[in-house]
Subunit: 216 residues, 2 copies
């Protein structure tokens, strides 16, 4: 650094744009995200972004790819579907927990990029191999994903999500349950709830599949 | 209306402030919500809001109360816990589906108002009556709520959430599953996924409780 002129910027690319967009969403929230503000952060004109990614939706898809790259689908090739689903679910929750502001944005925009589609293909392929009928695959995928997105939101919640202290005499069971559940350790409480919910959901899916196969 | 002067405004109250805040969040998103902007919408000074609600957190708690009032806990007094949980879950998802921008905000701020605490008390009271040990109540509540918040996000998603069209040959099972699942009817697909997931989760919770009781 000579102190003269601007510092050298890295060469603009689709990957760099997406990384800066994700950093911006992580720092400021999804609603603060816009192409003009992203361009300012990168020190370029908005039009320059279009040389690499075709508009806002394309930037968001590339951001999704970054988050999806943090998820692990390897278990689907190796384990029975209930165990593989649990392993993928844990990595999915962890990835979104690192990017809580991206949840709302990515949960409400259309998925179309090859990398993300490939992840979903791995999931439904394993479910189909496990015996799930084709017409139920999307429902299973969606309901598991709903649980995962909600669990990631819970990880982003404050340490004490329910505070009954001012009204404890009126909600005695809730107050006692909260005391029994964590004693102030928020991460342990969130992990316990996630593991219990995941266990219930997968137990239930195994039972549901058995019921479906009985009907056939 | 005489055309002269300002139209008469309704008298400011905590309820009116909360209703305007929820309307603002519904229309503009949670990140656009601030007390100064809320005051401008109401045509009052920000300081006037503090005569009725003690700051931002108090406004958000009052907004939560409005959303919670749209949920139905009556089933907990009448039905076995698995059926009551399902009935409450449907009304919970419907309420947040009407206020999708409130999900992120309410899922990440501490719950402390009597009305909302009373709803949770009704849920955990029914679970405890159904045999759930005290130290598991919060985990059951949290995991069901994670599924519900995620399902409400799914309702706010675009009609075609996964669009494999440009890459269908590379994701054949996903493409076939999507065709089989809905044929373009987004609401039917979301409802099917929600009902399937709710059935699996509650089946799984019933099995989990039986396993817990066996261990005792």
């Amino acid at each position: 650094m000579t102190g003269r002129g601007r510092p050298r910027r890295p060469v603009l690319s689709a990957d760099l744009i997406a990384r800066e967009a994700l950093a911006m969403i992580d720092a400021e929230g999804a609603n603060a995200f816009s192409l003009p503000r992203l361009a300012r952060r990168l020190g370029v004109r908005t039009a320059s972004l279009y040389n690499h990614l075709d508009g806002r939706a394309a930037v968001i898809e590339r951001v999704r790819r970054l988050v999806v790259e943090e998820m692990d689908v390897s278990a689907f090739a190796e384990l029975p579907w209930p165990d593989a689903l649990a392993a993928w679910a844990r990595s999915y929750r962890d990835a979104f927990a690192r990017h809580p502001h991206a949840i709302d944005l990515l949960a409400t925009t259309t998925i179309s990029s090859p990398a993300t589609l490939a992840m979903y293909e791995a999931v439904v392929e394993a479910l189909a191999r496990g015996g799930w009928p084709r017409e139920r695959l999307v429902a299973v995928l969606t309901s598991v994903e709903s649980f995962l997105l909600g669990s990631a939101l819970d990880l982003a919640a404050p340490p004490l999500m329910i505070d009954p202290s001012a009204h404890a005499p009126h909600v005695p069971i809730l107050a006692a349950a909260l005391r029994a559940a964590h004693a102030g350790d928020k991460a342990a409480r969130a992990d316990q709830a996630f593991e219990a919910g995941l266990d219930a959901l997968i137990r239930g899916l195994v039972a549901q599949l058995a019921a479906v196969q009985d009907q056939e």
